[in-house]
């Protein structure tokens, strides 16, 4: 700027539809969390596998909303989107390998 002056900033009025969408996303996440609590207290511990799979599915749904909507990844360029998602293959690989290993350890240890 040629001379020192208060910076003039034009404030754009809020986009009501966009803000409403953000609150809706939050509402969905709260509902999913409440559902998780209902599952935790209604489905008995005897159905352990069912409980675990419901929890994992709901967690991935919540993670999708956080990363896709809140972190805006859904709306980014495809190259960026896949650069973040594809490396997650390593996490899945590690998960499968480590849980398999853990179960193998539990079948041989004596304590």
């Amino acid at each position: 700027m040629a001379h020192s002056q208060e910076t003039v900033v034009t404030v754009i009025p809020p986009d009501k539809a966009k803000i409403k969408k953000l609150w809706m996303t939050a509402l969905i996440m709260l509902v999913v969390t409440i559902l998780e609590f209902i599952v935790a207290f209604t489905i008995p511990h005897e159905y352990k596998d069912l409980r675990v799979w419901i929890f994992i599915t709901m967690t991935i749904v919540k993670a999708g909303y956080i990363v896709g909507e809140f972190m805006h990844l859904r709306y980014e360029v495809k190259v960026l989107f896949w650069s973040i998602l594809i490396p997650m293959i390593f996490v899945i690989w590690m998960l499968v390998a480590f849980i398999y290993e853990g179960l193998a350890i539990s079948s041989v240890r004596l304590f």
């Binding site: 996303t25 709260l30 207290f41 709901m58 360029v77 998960l95 853990g102």
Partner: protein, 238 residues
């Protein structure tokens, strides 16, 4: 904010230089890749928890008859069942549910601050950043109480790195390491949020002409929330 479409000159691809192929600024792109590496760190911690847990015996008796023993991995809702000011009341997972609620709400206020930043609305950014900082501090306070309760125990010897009333020793180790590492991320996030708030109040971003720093720190803050979603599931629910 960077446009999401990448314009290129004829005969040149987006990767020939001069444009951003990923449609985001350098700083934002590096934040994404930092978060990716941080996701690997947390995945490694949580998956190792899964390995050690699956290597231990699971409790096989009736849930009502459950008692703490180093012989088997504890049922989480039997460990986390206390809430502040109600000593002796059994309220499984209620307190950790409150913590989840606080963190999700602070994620919403953060995204509203980012949205206000896009509109160059300084007053709204200040308001939502303050709510986000408040949410972060509330979460940390809850965690401090939870740690204190976990360490002192409920009538037993409590838990530390040498003893553990709740089950196998490594259960306490993982609790301290994973929730501690996440808690430290929350603490760093609160510091960064405060820095952003301070800069906003001082008019730094108005002079700069954009509020992209709010977006970058927002990404970090949402990531902290994302990690908590996984910690909540694999540590408290499963």
């Amino acid at each position: 904010m960077a446009s999401t479409t990448v314009a290129t000159a004829p005969g040149r691809s987006a990767w020939d230089g001069g444009v951003s192929p990923m449609g985001v600024s350098y700083g934002k792109l590096m934040m994404w890749f930092f978060l990716l590496s941080d996701a690997f760190t947390f995945s490694a911690l949580l998956i190792t928890y899964g390995l050690v847990r699956s290597a231990h015996k699971a409790y096989s008796g009736a849930v009502e008859a459950f008692t703490f023993s180093p012989e088997y991995w504890p049922i989480p809702e039997k460990v986390y069942e206390a809430i502040p000011f109600f000593h002796g009341l059994q309220a499984p997972l209620v307190f950790v549910g409150l913590m989840t609620f606080i963190l999700i709400m602070s994620s919403v206020t953060m995204v509203l601050a980012v949205e206000a930043g896009h509109r160059m609305d300084r007053v709204a950014v200040e308001k939502w950043m303050l709510w986000t900082i408040l949410g972060g501090i509330a979460f940390l306070s809850c965690q401090a109480w939870e740690w204190s309760h976990f360490i002192h125990g409920s009538g037993g010897i409590g838990a530390n790195l040498h003893a553990n009333e709740y089950g196998p020793q490594s259960f306490a180790g993982f609790f301290f390491f994973i929730t501690g590492f996440h808690g430290f991320h929350v603490f760093s996030g609160v510091c960064l949020n405060f820095l952003i708030y301070y800069n906003t109040v001082m008019g730094v971003y108005d002079r700069r002409g954009h509020y992209e720093m709010v977006e970058k720190v927002g990404l970090y803050w949402h990531f902290v929330d994302l990690v908590w979603v996984f910690v909540f599931t694999f540590f408290y629910l499963v």
